[in-house]
């Protein structure tokens, strides 16, 4: 039954390949949608099955691709038994995340039917979407480090290709390239940590008895590593000390932070504004941005051994959350606002992970996925209808595009943490985790850190709520700005294909939250947990109150300021904004940061291109030119004249006879009879 996971992962890949079969791109789109739908159904079945057998051990099934002879010393003292293995792992985390990825991908593809209609690269778009789906599904269900790394890279490549879909636009190319290059830094960190883990642990793992049913031990498998990390912390593994664990954890932190758009590299996510909206939705909500959180969740046993790193992760997440919320307040491009909100919420997820509330952190990721996807798609609908993404020029969508704007409102409310919607419950979980501040193995963050985290989380929640309401209010209410060529009467509701996903997401966003109410049995915390047994986090009234206050209060304040345009509220807001010029400062910093990214990352990475152009290209050109000269010279043999051909034939025969004679008499070294 667990082997359904193979089908879940591979069906989108098959759909990706099959999408090149039909002649009509629209039929290719149907193939992809069907494939993703099948994958979704299977993943739901798998989820149900896993929920039933929740207390069983995680199921792993791998295929080994290469096998080296055992005990082969490859030099450097490393025993040559690295066996690349790819496979599936079904446990709580993967069983829950797979339907999420599949469903969001399906909805995004349905949205593409409407929004990408008539696009020249439609088939490519769908193929890449399904490929990214496959990669992400494989990522969340990866059984070992190697598989995870391979799929990490594949997801990154897909997101780069998706972002650069409209490659004839230089802004899109630039954004895609910047996103790709910035996340490569995370890649390097991940690879280093992988190598470090392998080098340190493989010798020890080879000595362990093989698991039943497999003929070799994979030193990178998560099941094994979970034990090995703990033993390493205890000093039971040769060559591994606390320093190793800290370094590995820091590398993983770097990788997760870069990919999930944390401070200071959060602006690459804003580049998804240049991508086709469905792709942007997928990237932000289900694939690239969430990879960091899933990575930390997978490697949680390691992080548990090094609490300071966890605390650092939480602090980073908190700072990002605040910065993201502030930036969302200052931007005017709809997609950029949403991107900053996403990074802010990812920061909050990291906060949850950092204080030991693994289930809360992942649950926050879970709920935000729906909300973010909804927001991106709704904003895309509005932008398509109005022809601009600038919220200062938008308005009046409430009347003219009722479904879209109401769905957008639902998404914003959920994301902001308005009471009883899903965001509320997940934010409550995070705040509760901060308050409780207890890792599963008993350690906890120091007091000042906890205070900082709490303040930052609450501030981020409030500001984030403000930003989200601002988005909806300014975009949906009021009247649109007058622009050349724009006729407000022409604005109509989006077609069905672009509307339906929004409604589904809004509904899900509202309902799903109830799965994570802490303290109630059979909730999220039972499925995804840190340590050996699920922790039943107690119901924290304080957390509930704080979340309600800031979430709903922030939303209400935002409504007052921007929707009602209450003069008193606006004056207050303006005075606050003037007193704490956070917004202006952060806004000013951003171009600086962009420039730094460009200098530090983009430019050095292009050095190999220079090398290629100056060394490799002239070399290959010289080879080609030499061949051409030789060929031109050889062509002169082809005179077409009988006499010259006769001459060539007879002369060649003479030489051949000479050669044969010399060889037969032994005068040619190494050929023929010896003398």
């Amino acid at each position: 039954m667990y082997n359904l996971a193979w089908a879940v992962v591979l069906v989108p890949l098959g759909a990706c390949f099959l999408s090149y079969l039909p002649e009509v791109p629209r039929r290719a789109a149907l193939f992809c949608i069907a494939g993703t739908g099948v994958s979704l159904l299977l993943s739901l079945v798998l989820l149900a099955y896993r929920l039933q057998h929740n207390d069983a051990a995680p199921y792993q099934s791998v295929i080994t691709f290469l096998t080296f002879p055992p005990n082969q010393d490859l030099g450097g003292g490393v025993v040559g038994d690295f066996h690349p293995q790819l496979g599936v792992r079904v446990d709580g985390l993967s069983a829950v995340m797979m339907p999420v990825v599949a469903l969001i991908s399906l909805l995004v593809q349905i949205h593409s039917v409407g929004s990408m209609r008539g696009d020249a690269g439609l088939r490519r778009h769908y193929a890449l979407l399904t490929l990214a789906t496959f990669a992400m599904l494989a990522f969340v269900s990866s059984p070992n480090y190697f598989h995870l790394y391979v799929m990490w890279e594949l997801v990154a490549v897909c997101s780069w290709l998706l972002m650069g879909h409209w490659w004839h636009r230089p802004e899109a190319l630039r954004a895609a390239r910047r996103a790709f290059l910035v996340t490569r830094v995370g890649d390097v960190a991940l690879l280093l940590s992988l190598v470090l883990t392998y080098v340190k642990f493989s010798a020890n793992v080879a000595l362990l008895p093989n698991p039943p049913g497999q003929d070799l031990n994979d030193p990178l498998s998560f099941t094994l590593l979970g034990q090995e990390w703990h033993r390493g912390h205890l000093g039971a593994v040769a060559g591994v000390g606390p320093r190793t664990l800290v370094v590995t954890a820091l590398l993983l932190l770097l990788a997760a932070a870069v990919t999930s758009a944390q401070l200071p590299v959060q602006s690459w996510l804003a580049g998804t504004a240049e991508a086709p909206p469905p792709a942007a939705a997928l990237i932000q909500s289900a694939t690239v941005a969430t990879m960091g959180v899933v990575l930390v969740a997978r490697a949680y046993p390691l992080f548990l051994e090094v609490p300071p790193v966890l605390a650092a992760l939480a602090v980073l997440g908190a700072l990002t959350a605040v910065a993201g919320a502030v930036l969302a307040l200052t931007h005017t491009d709809m997609q950029r606002i949403i991107a900053h909100v996403t990074s802010s919420h990812l920061g909050l997820a990291f906060v949850g992970l950092g204080v030991g509330a693994l289930s809360a952190g992942v649950f926050h990721l879970f709920t935000q996925a729906w909300a973010v996807a909804l927001l991106v798609l709704a904003a895309a609908n509005v932008a398509r209808a109005y022809g601009t993404r600038d919220i200062r020029q938008l308005g009046g969508a409430w009347e003219r595009m009722p479904w879209t704007s109401r769905a957008m409102l639902a998404g914003c409310a959920s994301s902001a943490g308005v009471v009883l919607l899903s965001g509320f419950w997940s934010l409550d979980g995070v705040v509760g985790g901060v308050l409780r501040n207890q890792l599963p193995n008993g350690a906890s963050a120091p007091g000042p850190v906890q205070a900082l985290l709490l303040v930052a989380a609450l501030a981020a929640m409030g500001l984030g709520a403000l930003a989200l309401v601002r988005l909806v209010a300014v975009a949906a209410l009021g009247a649109p700005a007058r622009r050349r060529g724009f006729q407000p009467e022409k604005v109509r509701e989006a077609p069905n294909a672009m509307r339906a996903p929004l409604l589904v997401l809004a509904g899900l966003g509202a309902v799903v939250g109830f799965a994570g109410i802490p303290g109630i049995r059979a909730t999220f915390g039972n499925v995804i947990f840190a340590g050996a047994t699920p922790q039943h986090e107690p119901f924290s009234v304080v957390a509930l109150l704080l979340t309600a206050l800031l979430g709903t209060g922030g939303a209400a304040a935002g409504w007052l300021i921007w929707a009602r345009r209450d003069p008193a509220a606006s004056r207050l807001a303006a005075r606050v904004a003037a007193a704490v010029p956070l917004g202006a400062a952060t806004a000013a910093l951003e171009p600086l940061r962009a420039r730094a990214t460009e200098l530090l990352i983009t430019r050095p990475v292009t050095l190999p291109t220079l090398l290629e152009r100056s060394v490799v290209d002239p070399l290959t050109d010289a080879v080609a030119d030499g061949l051409e000269v030789a060929a031109t010279g050889a062509r002169r043999l082809q005179t077409g004249r009988l006499s010259s051909y006769l001459l060539t034939a007879v002369a060649a025969t003479a030489l051949l006879a000479l050669g044969v004679t010399l060889a037969a008499t032994g005068h040619l070294p190494g050929v023929g009879a010896s003398r």
Binding site: Q638, G640, R641, L642, S643, Y645, L646
Partner: protein
């Protein structure tokens, strides 16, 4: 010095060499044809020489048999070659070796 196989071989080599020169230097196709026959004749002389001076116990005169058949085959080849020359003449109106330059693509 009594005539031995070497003498015959030298003669055959010289006839063959004359034939090679003719094939390369003659400007008329018929000249090339005749020179080709010379080359064949040289080989036949060598064959006969080996049959005469070699070990005759196992297969007597097989070299001469081969030379016999080779001369006949050479005659057949000469006839066909002349027919080909006629065809080429009709196409290109020349039997000059250098003027036949349509062999290149």
């Amino acid at each position: 010095m009594s005539i031995g196989v070497t003498h015959v071989l030298v003669v055959s080599a010289l006839i063959f060499g004359a034939g090679v020169y003719g094939v390369l230097a003659r400007r008329s196709l018929f000249g090339v044809l005749l020179a080709l026959q010379l080359m064949l004749a040289g080989a036949e002389v060598a064959l006969v020489g080996f049959a005469r001076f070699g070990d005759a116990s196992a297969q007597p005169l097989d070299g001469m048999a081969l030379a016999f058949l080779a001369i006949l085959a050479g005659a057949a080849e000469g006839v066909v070659a002349v027919a080909l020359v006629l065809l080429a003449y009709r196409r290109h109106r020349t039997v000059h070796v250098d003027e036949l330059d349509k062999l290149a693509g």
